[in-house]
């Protein structure tokens, strides 16, 4: 009897310790999320049209990097197709509106469903049969193929010259999402949604399984985790989020073209993630800010912006593979451990 009590007590202690661990691991994420929401609401107060425009652009860009983090940072899969799905989402939404007469909001769930199907169709064979490097190649080739198809199907997509978007999200609950401020709110709202999903995934069993897959696939399989299913799920989720970001970008820029799907954009997104810190929550945001903000901050000529970024990527990969967020994390944990 005493033995059972003792056992159940240790079990209870175990469970509550785990719960506490979950709570502590989710807390910094939530706090960071709230802080970010606060920061993001600042430009709405500012009257500068340009800042609002830039902010919308940044928010959408960061959302895509957050989505990449789910498949590359958490699951460790090298996916070079984010911008392809970004473009796919933009075109899918635009075509649904144009050809089926839906409004913007109605097109979103359909776009998400279509993207999920496509991503699963591409991801499943790719991840079941092959490993990391092959995936990089397949997603790269897929992205380029999608771009070429979009550029060639003139009558359907408007061809390489792109498509004009004449509609806006319109007025919902009395707030005009088509205005500059409205689009900004939409973009930031979406970014916050992606972050939320990222945090929830991270702290869930699903996320833990992804980390296990990232660290050692064979070991993960031996622990009973369905490796392929998890990889495909992560890839599908990431691609769907990227597609939705693309749909929002469409109404924001009023113009979409196959150039949105370019491989160099996918590479830049990977770069942003690496610089910021793959696998962390704040990493994608930091990476986007550095990538886009640093050259502006340093007043470097636009020519040299990409050069600077290339140097940063090389330096980071060699000396600081955990990215900026990873370094900060290390410093903080180091400080905590030292008892500061």
């Amino acid at each position: 009897m005493t033995e059972e009590v003792a056992r159940s007590r240790t079990q209870a202690a175990h469970v509550s310790a785990q719960k506490l661990r979950v709570k502590t691991s989710i807390l910094p994420g939530v706090v960071g999320w709230l802080l970010l929401s606060l920061l993001l609401s600042v430009p709405i107060v500012y009257h500068s049209r340009y800042i609002v425009y830039l902010g919308t652009l940044l928010a959408l860009q960061a959302a895509v990097v957050v989505s990449l983090n789910i498949v590359m940072g958490f699951a460790g899969q090298f996916a070079l197709s984010q911008s392809a799905f970004f473009g796919f989402g933009a075109y899918a939404s635009a075509l649904l509106v144009r050809d089926l007469g839906l409004d913007f909001w109605a097109s979103l769930p359909l776009t998400a469903a279509m993207t999920a199907l496509l991503a699963a169709a591409v991801g499943y064979p790719a991840m079941r049969f092959t490993g990391g490097i092959h995936l990089a190649l397949i997603t790269f080739a897929f992205g380029e193929l999608l771009r070429l198809l979009t550029a060639n199907l003139h009558d359907f997509t408007g061809g390489p010259q792109g498509m004009q978007i004449a509609y806006t999200p319109g007025i919902v609950i009395g707030f005009d999402f088509g205005s500059a401020r409205g689009l900004y709110v939409l973009a930031c709202g979406f970014l916050l949604l992606c972050l939320l999903i990222s945090i929830v995934v991270r702290c869930s069993d699903f996320g833990r399984a992804l980390f296990a897959v990232r660290d050692d696939e064979t070991l993960a399989a031996s622990l009973g985790i369905d490796v392929t299913a998890h990889k495909v799920a992560a890839f599908t989720l990431a691609s769907t989020l990227a597609a939705l970001a693309g749909a929002i970008y469409g109404v924001f820029a009023s113009f979409i073209s196959p150039e949105m799907m370019s491989a160099s954009d996918s590479i830049a997104i990977v770069g942003m993630l690496i610089v910021g810190g793959p696998g962390t929550t704040a990493g994608p945001i930091l990476g986007t800010l550095i990538f886009v903000g640093l050259p502006e901050f340093l007043r470097v000529a636009k020519n040299y912006r990409l050069l600077l970024l290339g140097i940063i990527i090389v330096a980071m990969s060699l000396y600081s593979p955990k990215g900026v967020a990873g370094d900060i994390d290390r410093l903080v944990t180091g400080a905590r451990r030292r008892g500061d």
Binding site: I138, G271, L307, I313
Partner: protein
């Protein structure tokens, strides 16, 4: 009609051999050090520029081509020593580094050379008749040179000590080290040889097509497709796949749609990677 097919076939073989030269560098580096060097295309571009500038100054294509080959060989060795040596254990980092390198090299080139396309004067021009065929002189020359280089490289791998060391390393790095192969030196040679081949390919490209700072993207993409098709790490696979892709593109553009030219390669690549992960000939590495 038959003539046409023959002509198209020859075009395809010529383009294919150029692709194969680039793919060899990629597949070798991958096979030995597990790194997919995305920046390989930049060696082609730089080689093309070296050849262009040397040819403008000296009016000799041959001097330009030789210098391009040597320069890119040195460049490859430098890259290995300075950058890739540090990422040996981490293919993720290696990939990321090479992506960063692309951005650096491309933008330095664009700033330094200006984005205007350059056209180099080829050593021979016009066409000649071979029986009923009318062949372009320069293209035939390129075909001869690139085939010779590929064949020469194959012989190098088979006959020379360094070549054998490379093949030993591609089978087992540790095993090679155990039998006394100087792994570091050989690694550096791989990068150097791969770079040299890319530089030579660049010079040949420059003799036929426009030279721009962004021209490295196409040979790179084609190189990947071929390396994967032939089986990553397999030299004969890369050579065979190179010719295959060249022919597919040539016939596809000629008899199907010319506006979808690059698409054929991508479709082939995706199918190959999905269903034949060790390459068409099963010679590549499994589960990479």
């Amino acid at each position: 009609m038959l003539l046409d097919i023959l002509q198209t076939g020859l075009d395809g073989v010529m383009v294919g051999s150029l692709y194969a030269m680039v793919a060899l560098g990629i597949t070798l580096v991958f096979g030995l050090v597990g790194i997919l060097n995305f920046a390989h295309g930049q060696s082609v571009m730089l080689g093309a520029y070296v050849c262009f500038f040397v040819e403008s100054a000296s009016h000799s294509f041959w001097v330009g081509a030789i210098l391009a080959t040597l320069a890119m060989g040195v460049f490859g060795a430098l890259l290995e020593r300075a950058v890739f040596r540090r990422t040996l254990g981490d293919p993720f980092a290696g990939l990321a580094v090479s992506l960063g390198l692309i951005m650096i090299v491309e933008n330095v080139a664009a700033a330094g050379f200006t984005p205007d396309p350059r056209f180099m004067d080829p050593p021979v021009s016009g066409s000649f008749a071979l029986g009923p065929l009318v062949l372009s002189s320069q293209r035939s020359l390129v075909l001869v040179i690139s085939s010779a280089l590929v064949a020469g490289f194959w012989l190098f791998l088979q006959r020379t000590k360094l070549g054998k060391a490379i093949r030993a390393m591609s089978q087992s790095r540790r095993g090679a080290a155990l039998v006394g192969v100087r792994v570091d030196t050989v690694s550096r040679s791989i990068f150097a040889v791969g770079g040299a081949l890319a530089g030579a390919a660049g010079a040949l490209y420059a003799s036929l097509f426009a030279v721009t700072p962004f021209m490295g993207a196409t040979p790179l993409t084609k190189g990947f497709i071929i390396a994967a098709l032939g089986g990553l790490g397999s030299v004969p696979g890369a050579i065979a796949a190179g010719f295959l892709l060249g022919l597919a593109e040539s016939f596809g553009s000629r008899y199907l749609s010319a506006s979808f030219r690059d698409g054929y390669g991508f479709i082939i690549l995706i199918l190959a990677l999905l269903f034949l992960p060790t390459g068409l000939f099963g010679a590549g590495k499994e589960r990479v």
